[in-house]
């Protein structure tokens, strides 16, 4: 178990290191001069330009040798200093991002967990029910092939505009202020439902297909055949098959995280849902480079943490990793 963990942690540490390095490298070695672009934009406001210019001299430290710049970048990072947002001047990037993160959590965690659970259940049932298999399989392939934002657009158009049931923009009505009351919570959930549903549906298709294929594979395996020959009840065999088929699905969840995050970004843009995705769109439109870089690091850190959580779950579920026999995820 220690070997499994130390290996994983080494990979995460290297990934984080690489991500920060990319974050530092790209602005400096890309063609064009982002500092100039930023200054010329900010020059619209005199006081902003002055602060920014002094900030750049400090942050980029362009007169310093490269290795010194790189070390300073890390130092600033550990002080939580991601720079200052330009389009929300003078808010620090870290505060802008921190305001957006709760919305991402609120959207992503239920969508990921529920779609994973529901997809696995339906996939497992489909593997042994002919009529369900014939409907779930094609539907699943269509759903996984659908771009997240397109399903979001279709749902917003059909349920929001044509039928007028759900709101299609924001996390709560513009008339309300965030506070703790039933009206507000109901409003929040009402706005949350469509983005959640579109994320849920696209992911659901992938999990259902994956589970169906794994169950069929497991039911063909030697241990299933052996149990069958012993006269074990079908229920028991399927239970074992399900538990074995779960493991690749857990690994699959870790592998899919990047794609899921990308999908969530796009979905938030469609619904103007104030998470990181919507922030990135605004940052791109306003050429707010510090904000883009901050969002990049936050996404990486979030994915790394989620990966770590999945590793712990994997250890809890798969005894082989606990006993030091490296399981398949290692």
């Amino acid at each position: 178990m220690r070997r499994y963990f130390s290996r994983k942690l080494l990979i995460y540490a290297l990934t984080f290191f690489l991500a920060v390095t990319i974050d530092w490298l790209i602005p400096r070695f890309m063609p064009g001069n982002p500092v100039q672009t930023m200054l010329s934009r900010a020059a619209l406001r005199a006081e902003a330009a002055k602060v920014l210019q002094s900030y750049y001299i400090r942050a980029f430290g362009l007169d310093l040798p490269l290795w010194q710049q790189y070390l300073n970048f890390w130092k600033a990072l550990f002080h939580g200093d991601f720079g200052i947002s330009i389009f929300l001047f003078p808010k620090p990037v870290i505060r802008v991002i921190m305001n957006a993160v709760p919305y991402d959590m609120f959207l992503l965690i239920p969508a990921i967990l529920l779609s994973w659970i529901a997809g696995n259940r339906v996939g497992a049932i489909a593997a042994r029910t002919k009529w369900l298999d014939n409907t779930v399989l094609p539907l699943g392939y269509i759903l996984t092939a659908t771009p997240y934002m397109w399903l979001a657009i279709v749902l917003a158009w059909a349920l929001g505009i044509v039928l007028g049931i759900f709101p299609i923009a924001g996390a709560y009505s513009f008339a309300l202020r965030p506070h703790l009351s039933w009206t507000f919570i109901k409003d929040l959930l009402w706005h949350w439902f469509l983005p959640f549903a579109s994320l849920f549906l696209v992911m659901f298709g992938g999990w259902a297909i994956g589970m169906r294929n794994m169950i069929i594979y497991e039911l063909e395996a030697d241990y299933s055949r052996y149990l069958e020959a012993l006269g074990a009840p079908q229920r028991l065999i399927r239970k074992y098959a399900f538990r074995n088929a779960m493991l690749p699905q857990i690994t699959g969840l870790a592998l899919q995280l990047g794609v899921i995050v990308a999908g969530a970004l796009a979905t938030e843009i469609v619904f103007s849902y104030p998470g990181i995705g919507y922030l990135i769109l605004q940052a791109v439109q306003n050429q707010d480079y510090f904000l883009i870089q901050g969002c990049f690091l936050f996404i990486i850190v979030g994915v790394l943490l989620a990966n770590f959580a999945i590793d712990i779950v994997y250890i809890l579920v798969d005894p082989r990793t606990r006993l030091g026999m490296t399981g398949e995820a290692a």
């Binding site: 990934t15 602005p27 659908t146 934002m149 994915v303």
Partner: protein
Amino acid sequence: MTGLIRSETLYFALRNNKLRVGLAVLIFFVILTFVGPLFTDYSPTDYVGPPAHPPSPEHWFGTTTFGQDVYTQFVHGLRATFLVGIIGGGLGTLIGVLVGFIAGYRGGIVDEILNMLTNIVLIIPTLAVLIIIAAYLTVRGILMESIFIGCTAWPWAARAIRAQTFSLRAREFVDLARMSGMKPLKIIFTEIAPNMMSYLFMTFILQFGGAILNAATLDFIGLGPTRGMSLGLMMNNAVLWAALQLGMWWWLIPPGAAIAAIVGALYVTNVGLDEVFNPKLREM
């Protein structure tokens, strides 16, 4: 002998419904990509008609808020989609194959290093890297976008091919080749690769679909090609210029529907091919 095998594969391929449906959809869109632009006299960004007009005989898919022809944008966008798929998916497959072969065949320290690299790139969310690269490029083309997508999408392919190579390397015919003094590269390409050709082809199909979806998301965020038209960019424009609020379904629906149909057809084709190449799955 090979002729016999080939005709047998073809026999099963022609009788596989998944493969037939998938290929039919794909061929339809490929033809549309080549023939579609012939039916329009406009360029995708020209202002040619009345703004926000629903589909009509003059403008088959209607017009945008600015009076651009949606059909023209659609067929030009299809071309960009297939280009990204071929270049991005091809590059992703190529890198994945090379890394997978080398890691799987050499083993030892080379494998350790390549495997570590694969795992790292696997964790980093592809789109996050693409966003930060694209944000700093002031001029972006479809070719550049495809190359970046290919360079970040290879890890799962490398991992799968490495595992396959690992198991093939231990077979007798590879040992025999090694004993006869064949060079490692030659063994990989004449002994190992032909035995997993079908697998490599299916990897390419999945990479193709993945590249299309990645490009669509990137374009949708507004970091796609700065010139030209793509299906993701159409969706980006539609959402930004309030096509949703105005109920302009003819602008919102086609681009994403085409992506879903193409990628879905690729996935179904892949499953069909799997059944054709793998006799165990045929009865299902």
